[in-house]
């Protein structure tokens, strides 16, 4: 099954017809290796991309080649649904791991928005959830100590992966390099290394890249001041 269906069915019921429409929306599957561009800033794509399996990121490049990762997208995320109405990409999307990507032509998205009002709201919800995560990341990166920022990212990714059956029993895979983490949290690799060590040494996590095991969820949540409301994991009619 298309994991986007799994992700959205956590939040709302889909009819058999709506599920079939989402399955058929994927025209083909693209496989990319790690650290490859899916779309670049300035591109004018005619397809949107759904992550069937793997980890991708949205990023912006600065003049001196520095990179800020502004979102991490995992299995079930519709990474550039935005490009359908926005037309021109204002950021890039790249793979962080080997990825299987579902290619969804904008023509099919247009047909969905014209024929299936509830499914259109579900797609809208998906981009609103992306927005709520961006807001939370701004709060976290703007006002939390580095240790709290990383703790927050771990809490978030665990719950997002669990929602698409990619994590359970407080274990998950985080196949990001320390440079990826530094570019995500706006920290230097030196500081990322230090806070990873601190989380390990204080017995909160066991972390052998890519395997992360959370030993003390409550403590991680306290460090992160984590409140999962912004992930909108509850099920109700939208």
């Amino acid at each position: 099954m298309n994991p986007f269906i799994l992700k959205m069915e956590r939040r709302d019921s889909l009819s058999a017809e709506e599920r079939a429409v989402l399955e058929e929306a994927v025209a083909r599957v693209r496989v990319l290796g790690p650290h490859e561009d899916v779309v670049r800033e300035g591109d004018r794509p005619t397809d949107s991309t759904l992550v069937l399996d793997g980890v991708t990121c949205r990023y912006n490049l600065l003049g001196d080649g520095k990179r800020q990762i502004t979102a991490i997208h995992v299995t079930g995320d519709f990474v550039d649904l935005h490009s359908f109405p926005l037309k021109v990409m204002d950021h890039g999307v790249a793979t962080l791991t080997t990825c299987r990507l579902g290619v969804v032509p904008h023509a099919r998205l247009k047909a969905i928005t014209e024929q299936f009002p509830h499914l259109t709201r579900v797609l809208w919800l998906s981009t609103l959830m992306d927005g709520s995560m961006h807001r939370q990341w701004i709060v976290s990166m703007g006002r939390m100590p580095a240790l709290g920022q990383l703790a927050h990212l771990l809490c978030e990714l665990y719950l997002r992966l669990e929602a698409v059956n990619e994590a359970s029993e407080l274990r998950f895979k985080l196949p990001l390099t320390q440079t990826d983490l530094a570019d995500t949290l706006g920290l230097t690799p030196v500081h990322v290394n230090r806070i990873v060590q601190e989380l390990r040494q204080s017995g909160v996590v066991v972390w052998r890249t890519p395997d992360v095991q959370i030993l003390d969820w409550d403590r991680l949540v306290r460090l992160a001041e984590f409140d999962p409301r912004y992930l909108h994991l509850h099920h109700e009619p939208r």
Partner: protein, 91 residues
């Protein structure tokens, strides 16, 4: 002092607290005023080269001006960087 004179950069070794341990570090002075604190980092810390990491900076060397704190491969690389920061701040 003539304003055209380059500032005098001096380094003073100190132990610095670093998450449960102590490390060698340097206080960097610019004409006697504290400009930066460096801490020794290993290859494991940086994921790349070892050296001296700008742990804290003040004035032209502060995080308000330096987004990516540099890692200096050797202590000889510190003074030219501090001077460049001061010159950049004046321009």
């Amino acid at each position: 002092m003539n304003p055209a004179d380059p500032p005098e950069i001096a380094l003073e070794a100190r132990e610095i607290l670093n998450d449960g341990s102590r490390r060698i570090g340097y206080l960097v002075f610019c004409d006697g005023a504290l400009a930066a604190v460096l801490i020794e980092v290993t290859e494991e810390d940086t994921g790349a080269i070892p050296g001296w990491y700008l742990e804290a900076g003040f004035g032209p060397c502060s995080s308000l001006r330096v987004v990516d704190p540099p890692i200096f491969p050797t202590l000889e690389d510190v003074a030219p960087w501090v001077v460049a920061q001061i010159e950049q701040a004046m321009n």
